[in-house]
């Protein structure tokens, strides 16, 4: 499977993300837990881009490319927001959160913990975030 989905860089535009993910998950015979993880990874990644990547009123289309080959599932998120390399952020993977941790950091932590691997590149003025699930 190779499928591209486009979202406007507005938080209201990803309201239907759960339905989109469920449809893909069912097509790939994912169990409910796997669909939950997939949904969470995508929502947290898109939320970070939409909330923190753009100047006020900047308009963009964010592409989410889903690739499934045999047992391997990955998503590539492509956007024209400010450069942001999630892989270099200290927040995440190693330690638990305190109650004072900011929510933006919580999203990154969840993506890192739920993914098999994450890669980032900046190409032709676009961020490419590749997440293996």
């Amino acid at each position: 499977m190779r499928k591209s989905i486009f979202f406007n860089n507005q938080i209201d535009d990803i309201k239907n993300l759960t339905e989109v993910v469920e449809e893909i998950g069912n097509e790939l015979n994912m169990n409910p837990g796997e669909i939950f993880n997939f949904n969470l990874i995508l929502e947290e990644a898109l939320t970070n881009i939409i909330f923190y990547g753009y100047d006020h009123e900047a308009q963009d289309k964010i592409e989410v490319m889903v690739n499934h080959d045999n047992d391997s599932l990955s998503v590539e998120i492509i956007d024209s927001a400010k450069p942001f390399d999630i892989t270099t952020r200290e927040q995440g993977a190693h330690s638990g959160l305190t109650e004072d941790t900011q929510v933006g950091g919580l999203g990154i932590l969840l993506i890192k913990k739920l993914s098999k691997s994450i890669n980032y590149k900046r190409e032709n003025g676009k961020n490419h975030l590749i997440i293996n699930i």
């Binding site: 990803i14 837990g33 969470l40 929502e43 638990g96 929510v103």
Partner: protein, 114 residues
């Protein structure tokens, strides 16, 4: 996408949250809880999560914020019967011991009748 049913019992606000708590709508729950917190004399909140199907980090923030707010007044937050996925979310966030989690409704009844 989500719904809230509210019951006030003595010192407790019992809020049943159902559906999907997505980022785009999490602020609505936060506003609702803040309003209840401002209007109510209750200092203890029970969130009934039996029918909460999905929750993002922004949804989780509402529960964290409510606990922080109530802590100032010696109040408490109890999460009732969260799903396995919600428990996993708490674990991933390192917050599994941050909340009181109760899975037995009889114990909730006992707490409510104190």
């Amino acid at each position: 996408m989500f719904d809230v049913k509210r019951v006030t019992i003595k010192k407790f606000e019992l809020l049943e949250i159902s559906g999907k708590l997505i980022t785009a709508e999490a602020y609505k729950l936060e506003e609702k809880v803040e309003k209840i917190f401002a209007d109510s004399n209750a200092l203890n909140f029970i969130f009934d999560l039996r029918n909460l199907e999905y929750c993002s980090s922004y949804g989780l923030r509402t529960f964290i914020k409510t606990k922080k707010d109530l802590k100032l007044y010696d109040g408490k937050v109890i999460l009732f019967s969260p799903s396995d996925n919600f428990n996993k979310l708490l674990e991933l966030a390192g917050l599994e011991k941050f909340f009181i989690i109760e899975n037995n409704w009889n114990n909730i009844i006992k707490v409510l009748s104190e």
